[in-house]
């Protein structure tokens, strides 16, 4: 009996710490550090309100999977069922959750400002250059320091952080480099939350006071028919040019069609509420659970965090610079500040454009003009992910 009791205590989490395979500085078990990190992420999500809908499930998933012997992420083996998150993770592994979440995002998105001002699509394209610059750098880093393990697939997964679009980043990474899901998802959502801190200095550095004061013409009204035809036409157009973008873009556009058709309100409502919330919980918890100590507590995690910040900055800069080109080309009708919204991070980036613009000229209302590049950025990063997938997937 005492023998059995002793064995029982051998299965406690403390015993798990003692036998951890990942001792940092030779005496701190890696799992414990991961638990602390997950608490910090919970604090960021709850205390600081950084994208809490995703960061809270991600952080809690990380917490659960790092409790030694907790078994929530244990694979099924030899007839024994696996842990809960092992099953939830299937939806990530098979690329099911991100497109279905995009369905909900589509049902929430109003493409009206983009239809009213189609040129803003180009700003959404320009900001995606912020995906490719860190891709190049990550690739050369990987060549220089092979121990980082940054091959092309890893580089593409890092670059996509610059797309500022969570489901796209998770979808691409799950296809190319699932072992990096944890740090990439955390970086993507954290920087999306930090957009109001990251963007303004870059925006100011690259524009003149005069440019920032430009007022833009009011947008035309968009008819209901245009809004209905838009998602269908986008699916066909881009689906024919770049088939690998169909899963993400097609779902986004189907959700948007549910929203705009006027006859499928039931489906639109469920897609953006019950279904999306369920999938968000499942996605967050299972992405978080991939971040185990042995994988996460590595130099490349820090590198990913750093490159992610760089990616966001590149995207912002490219958007603003292209805005300046459009400003020049239109004879000063485009305020370059709306270019930064092209990174997506809907709707924060558009609000940042509004705030920065209004600070220079209190009567300047850029919000609706920035929403165009903002939603274009969602399409743009899905296209970029499609290209990555068709070369590397």
């Amino acid at each position: 009996m005492w023998q059995n009791i002793l064995e029982f205590f051998q299965t406690s989490g403390y015993a798990g710490f003692a036998n951890s395979q990942m001792m940092v500085l030779r005496f701190i078990p890696g799992e414990l550090i991961m638990i602390v990190i997950s608490c910090v992420l919970l604090y960021m999500g709850i205390g600081r309100k950084f994208e809490p809908l995703l960061l809270v499930p991600i952080a809690f998933g990380m917490l659960l999977s790092n409790l030694p012997f907790g078994g929530v992420f244990t694979p099924a083996e030899g007839g024994q069922p696996g842990g809960l998150i092992y099953y939830l993770y299937y939806g990530v592994k098979m690329g099911i959750y991100p497109p279905l979440i995009f369905l909900g995002v589509g049902a929430m998105t109003d493409f009206g400002p983009l239809i009213a001002n189609p040129k803003s699509l180009l700003l959404g394209a320009a900001a995606q250059i912020g995906i490719f610059i860190p891709f190049v750098i990550a690739f050369y880093l990987g060549k220089a320091f092979p121990s980082l393990g940054f091959d092309l697939k890893a580089a593409a997964s890092i670059g996509i952080i610059g797309g500022a679009d969570g489901p796209t980043a998770i979808y691409l990474t799950s296809k190319l480099k699932p072992e990096l899901l944890g740090p990439i998802a955390i970086a993507a959502y954290s920087y999306m939350a930090l957009v109001p801190l990251i963007q303004p200095p870059i925006m100011k550095a690259l524009t003149t006071k005069r440019e920032r004061q430009i007022k833009m013409e009011q947008l035309r009204e968009v008819t209901k028919v245009e809004k209905i035809v838009f998602p269908i036409a986008v699916t066909i157009f881009i689906g024919l040019i770049l088939p690998s973008a169909v899963p993400l873009l097609g779902s986004l556009m189907l959700g948007n069609l549910f929203r705009e058709s006027g006859v499928t309100a039931r489906l639109s409502d469920t897609a953006q509420n019950a279904m999306m919330n369920i999938l968000t919980i499942f996605l967050g918890v299972s992405v978080g659970a991939t971040a185990n100590a042995a994988r996460f507590l590595q130099p490349q995690t820090l590198m990913i965090i750093a490159l992610g910040l760089f990616a966001f900055s590149c995207g912002t800069a490219c958007g603003v610079l292209f805005g300046k080109i459009m400003c020049a080309a239109t004879g000063g009708k485009v305020n370059p500040l709306i270019g930064s919204a092209g990174v997506s991070a809907v709707p924060m980036a558009a609000r940042v454009s509004q705030v920065v613009g209004q600070r220079e000229n209190p009567e300047n209302y850029l919000l609706m003009h920035a929403m165009g590049p903002n939603v274009a950025g969602v399409i743009g990063s899905a296209v970029a992910a499609g290209v990555m997938l068709s070369f590397l997937g």
């Binding site: 092309l152 028919v225 245009e226 035809v229 269908i232 881009i238 024919l240 070369f391």
Partner: protein, 113 residues
């Protein structure tokens, strides 16, 4: 797939960069054109026919003007498909669909009383 790592070259990487940025701009520019055509079809008065980007549009908008808004939807779809696919609109003409007079509600409308 993992053996690819060994042979990955900067050339492959730059190919992705060039094609990637190119495709993003190509796709989003295509949408600029497409949405501009929208404006031509749906917003201006029907007398002004859309431009060359959608060769099928003139043929399609003529009946659209007669049938009103709903017809315009068909026209736009045909135009979009035609423009996107490069197949002449003539091959795509949709057999006319008569207005039904009734609109059937969905099963969701089952009487809940």
């Amino acid at each position: 797939m993992d053996t690819v790592v060994v042979t990955e070259t900067a050339g492959q990487m730059w190919t992705i960069v060039v094609v990637g940025i190119g495709t993003v701009f190509l796709c989003l520019f295509a949408l600029v054109v497409m949405v501009s055509v929208f404006k031509a079809i749906f917003v201006r008065e029907p007398k002004a026919a859309p431009k060359a980007e959608a060769p099928a549009a003139p043929a399609a908008t003529a009946p659209a003007a007669a049938r009103g808004l709903d017809g315009a939807v068909v026209a736009a779809i045909v135009a979009a498909v035609s423009a996107a696919s490069g197949v002449p609109a003539a091959s795509l003409r949709i057999a006319s669909i008569e207005r039904s007079g009734f609109n059937t509600p969905a099963w969701g409308h089952i009487d809940r009383a």
